[in-house]
């Protein structure tokens, strides 16, 4: 009786696993943003196909072995009032050889399947049309350099689509400025680690425009969790537009703003809406906002504050005296959707709160609260809001 109960449970369990596998295939079609079963780039696609192949083989092995186990446990359970010992069997060379040789054959198949994808992805030749990106990991943000265009960006990687007729894959060289990180955008490729003193390589060739999310996949310190990563795949035209804008320095961009400096102060403005994912603590931001954030006078004063405080030790704004490289490049801050490597949406309110104290969003990040006055914080915000 008891034995039967047990075997029922084990039967259930052996059904549960295939069910879970079926669930994972369902997940593939639900295409959640980080699913490895919804590939949008050749490497991710090949890894996905390989994974389905391996899943099938392992599923069959599991069904075979667990089926035998369940059968043996039910069939050979002790019956009541039967105290005699069963016949003692010590082994059988033929049987043992068979379950040595069959696994060897399975492994040969698995290994060859793996090797094909491994070499085709890892040793792919770089076409002359490829886009080069240098990815530098920092605690806890990403720096992206486009050596072909002399552009430095942060946290949000823009790449063009690549099609079979006009292939334009993105070949990345990855390194780190401090500790180990790992670049992982599941829908585009598996991960590659970023190591200090070493350059690794990986490539992607996304075919569909869109935004792909990922994050750092190697523990790198207190804010490893919020070292988020976004890849914007643009159409070639959009990408060229983006690059053109990124190539402009703020000296060129600022000219019209300085002309606007005579426009009167439009008065207080409300802070922007909270980002959809904000924890409750973000509500405290409301108390900070005083000045008119995007007022041109404030922006001008903000630039003075920015350049005379410690900000420029870490941050660069192209075309100005700010050329720090420890923190993200802010030349085109307002072209990004997020702040703090995805810790918050890039709204004026969040920006002001971030400047006042980055720990509100990202406790443990390396940017300190500068303890400036509320007025100065608002002026810096106004300045940063002009960096489009």
């Amino acid at each position: 009786m008891r034995a039967q109960q047990n075997s029922t449970i084990f039967l259930c369990r052996s059904i549960a696993v295939p069910a879970l596998l079926a669930f994972s295939t369902a997940v593939a079609h639900a295409s959640l943003p980080g699913s490895i079963f919804a590939p949008h780039s050749t490497p991710a696609h090949e890894e996905h196909q390989l994974s389905i192949f391996v899943l099938w083989i392992t599923l069959l092995i599991y069904l075979g072995v667990s089926g035998l186990l369940v059968y043996a446990l039910v069939r050979f359970r002790a019956r009541p009032n039967d105290d005699a010992e069963p016949p003692q069997v010590f082994g059988s060379l033929q049987i043992e050889l068979s379950w040595t040789i069959i696994p060897i054959l399975i492994i040969v198949v698995l290994f060859l399947g793996t090797a094909r994808v491994l070499f085709s992805v890892q040793d792919a030749k770089k076409p002359p049309t490829a886009l080069d990106v240098l990815v530098i990991g920092h605690q806890f943000w990403w720096e992206f350099r486009y050596p072909q265009y002399n552009v430095v960006a942060a946290n949000e990687l823009h790449v063009p689509t690549s099609s079979n007729s006009a292939p334009r894959p993105t070949f990345m060289k990855l390194t780190s400025a401090d500790v180990m990180h790992s670049f992982w955008v599941p829908q585009l490729n598996g991960k590659t680690d970023l190591l200090p003193n070493r350059v690794n390589e990986m490539w992607i060739d996304p075919q569909t425009p869109g935004m792909y999310v990922g994050q750092c996949a190697q523990f790198c310190g207190p804010q490893h969790a919020k070292m988020l990563l976004r890849v914007y795949v643009d159409t070639p035209e959009d990408f060229d537009k983006w690059i053109k804008n990124q190539q402009r320095t703020q000296a060129e961009l600022a000219a019209p703003h300085i002309a606007m400096a005579s426009i009167p102060n439009p008065g207080n403005q409300t802070r922007g809406p909270l980002p959809p994912n904000s924890p409750a603590t973000h509500g405290t931001v409301a108390a900070v906002s005083t000045e008119a954030p995007d007022n041109a006078v404030n922006a001008h004063n903000g630039q003075l504050v920015f350049e005379r405080q410690a900000c420029i030790n870490c941050h660069a704004v192209g075309g100005t005296v700010a050329n720090g490289r420890y923190g993200p490049d802010l030349t085109h801050l307002m072209s990004r959707d997020t702040l703090g490597a995805g810790a918050a949406a890039n709204t004026p309110g969040n920006l002001l709160a971030w400047i006042a104290d980055p720990n509100t969003f990202k406790p443990g990040c390396l940017m300190p609260a500068m303890h400036l006055s509320e007025r100065q914080n608002a002026q810096i915000t106004a300045y940063l809001l002009t960096l489009k």
Partner: protein, 570 residues
């Protein structure tokens, strides 16, 4: 009831009253004498029990840390723990479970059982044995002292927060100021010395202390696997100990082994750590196999199927496992040929492990399986081990590993190995040998509760945990974004964790309750066949009154079935 046919010698049989009773009453001194007798002991049985008790205490501590982790992850953007505390919790959880729970409890069983099963009076080096235990115990206390003495910011206590594999250069002074990383490194170093001492001891015991008639091919499988595991400890723990010394040189003497800012190498640490770290998995799992090798035959009422193949497979696992470490580093930037090599070597491990699994199956086949608690845990182990092995094969597929590496899929996989296989077999072993160690049976009814809650909790937690990994959730993150589809999965994982916690508390209650109220076990409660069941429960200090002499792998079978002795077939 003492079995008249046992080979343990007249001393035991005559004296259910005299000698065994003498042993029990000897503990009835003053409290101080009792404590003193445990502290100065060199008896392998007392040291074994101390190892196990020490590990169980840390199991509760590290389990509590796991619960804190699961509370934090129960919903996105939770602020139950700060990122700092969360990082300390998973670092301490991992380090504790591997170094202060897994290794000590398995060494404890080895200490207790190996001499008894080979008919020896004690380990080969009893004083080294005591030294190893106390060094390991010191290491554990040192690691946990960092909570008080680690001096974080603003003078509060702290703890290591560098993850259990402590990748360089995060551990360098520039990125880990303060002393918590030093506590971690020194604790691992001290623990390593203790482990190496015990490993030497087990090897010497198995190869030099066997009783008369016990040739190499008559050693029960448990001592065989412990010898293999000890060789692995010798080869694998030494580099770990060495790299802790190198790390300390970096941190205090201006060395640059791992200091990338001065030209050191981060990959060097990864190699050092994983050349320890992967064999370590087999250091932990081989004893679990060893328990299965003893328990499954007894409860199937059949001899182990294919003993020579089992020995060969275990030793084979030992050898192959030394050549697979870089499968933890498929994403670190090895060449494609490097990746291909470690893919193949890792897949090869599945051949000897497959042989073992099928031999267990064949042992059950044709038997008469009794489902008592030790066997229940062993059966669950078999199913879970197959799944753990298959997810292991998935991870060995290097091109897919680029996606799976460092995701929750990996976390689920290694918890399947460490909990589903190793912890389940540790529970099986405790239910199986507790009567030998204390003379009392563990309560079967509580055992069933423990088992079923554990199985349910385990599967709710760790089956579910694979999926956030497939959906892109990396490990070691203190919080996550709500729009990734991980929310309900993480909630289920946390709930399963709490169910397991309840199971463990029932188990702890059972351990304590049965020590005082348990049924009397007698020397051989399971009708088993190896030598430890030939002496009283608990065994007297000298183990066997006269040295046993064996003629087969199952000496007690021979005694119980003189009409059909194993010795006729070997």
């Amino acid at each position: 009831m003492a079995d008249q046919s046992l080979p343990a010698g007249q001393g035991i049989q005559a004296g259910h009253g005299s000698e065994t009773a003498l042993d029990r009453t000897s503990a009835h001194g003053t409290y101080l004498e009792l404590v003193h007798s445990w502290i100065v002991t060199v008896d392998h049985k007392k040291l074994g029990i101390m190892y196990i008790a020490y590990a169980l205490v840390f199991l509760l501590v590290a389990g509590a840390e796991a619960m804190l982790i699961r509370i934090q992850l129960i919903k996105p953007h939770n602020d139950f723990l700060s990122p700092y505390s969360f990082n300390r919790m998973f670092t301490m959880h991992g380090t504790t479970m591997v170094f202060l729970v897994g290794m000590p409890i398995l060494f404890g069983f080895g200490n207790y059982l190996v001499p008894l099963m080979i008919g020896a009076r004690d380990m080969a080096f009893p004083r080294l044995n005591a030294f190893s235990f106390w060094v390991s115990a010191f290491a554990g206390l040192l690691l946990y002292y960092s909570f008080i003495g680690g001096v974080g910011l603003s003078g509060t206590g702290s703890a290591p927060d560098i993850a259990w594999f402590a990748y360089a250069p995060l551990t360098e002074k520039a990125f880990s100021p303060g002393h918590t990383t030093d506590y971690w490194a020194i604790a691992i170093l001290a623990n390593g010395i203790g482990s190496i001492g015990t490993a030497i001891n087990i090897i010497a015991t198995v190869f030099c202390m066997r009783c008369k008639g016990m040739t190499l091919m008559r050693i029960p499988l448990l001592p065989w696997l412990y010898a293999t595991m000890s060789f692995l400890v010798l080869v694998a723990v030494s580099p770990l100990t060495a790299c802790q010394a190198m790390l300390l040189i970096d941190r205090y003497l201006g060395g640059h082994f791992f200091d990338t800012q001065a030209g050191g190498s981060a990959i060097l640490w990864a190699h050092f750590f994983w050349i320890f770290g992967h064999p370590e998995v087999y250091v932990l799992v081989l004893p679990a196999f060893a328990f299965a090798n003893e328990i499954i035959p007894v409860f199937s009422r059949k001899a182990i199927f294919g003993y020579p193949a089992m020995v060969a497979a275990s030793v084979g696992i030992g050898f192959i496992s030394l050549g697979v470490w870089a499968h933890h580093m498929f994403t670190i930037g090895m060449t494609s040929f490097g990746n291909a090599f470690f893919t193949l070597s890792t897949m090869l491990v599945s051949i000897p492990t497959g042989i073992k699994t099928f031999n267990w199956l064949a042992t059950i086949w044709g038997g008469k399986v009794r489902f008592e608690t030790p066997m229940l845990f062993s059966v669950a182990f078999l199913f879970q081990w197959v799944i753990a092995g298959l997810t292991g094969i998935m991870l060995s597929v290097s091109a897919w590993n680029w996606q799976l590496h460092n995701s929750y899929f990996v976390v689920a996989h290694f918890h399947y190995v460490l909990v589903g296989a190793i912890v389940f077999m540790i529970f099986a072993a405790l239910y199986y040998w507790y009567p030998k160690m204390t003379g009392r049976m563990l309560d079967e009814r509580l055992g069933k509760w423990h088992f079923w809650l554990m199985v349910i909790g385990f599967h709710v937690t760790f089956d579910t945990m694979h999926f956030p990994g497939l959906l892109g959730m990396p490990r070691q993150i203190y919080t996550y974004e709500p729009d990734r589809g991980w929310n309900s999965l993480n909630f289920i994982v946390s709930v399963g964790g709490f169910i397991q916690a309840i199971a463990i508390l029932i188990f702890v209650y059972n351990l304590i309750h049965s020590y005082f109220r348990g049924e009397d076990a007698g020397p051989d409660p399971w009708d088993a066949w190896t030598l430890e069941w030939a002496t009283a429960s608990p065994p007297p200090v000298y183990n066997f009154a006269i040295e046993p002499e064996v003629a087969s792998r199952r000496p007690l079978w021979d005694r119980k079935h003189p009409e059909d002795p194993d010795s006729a077939f070997e």
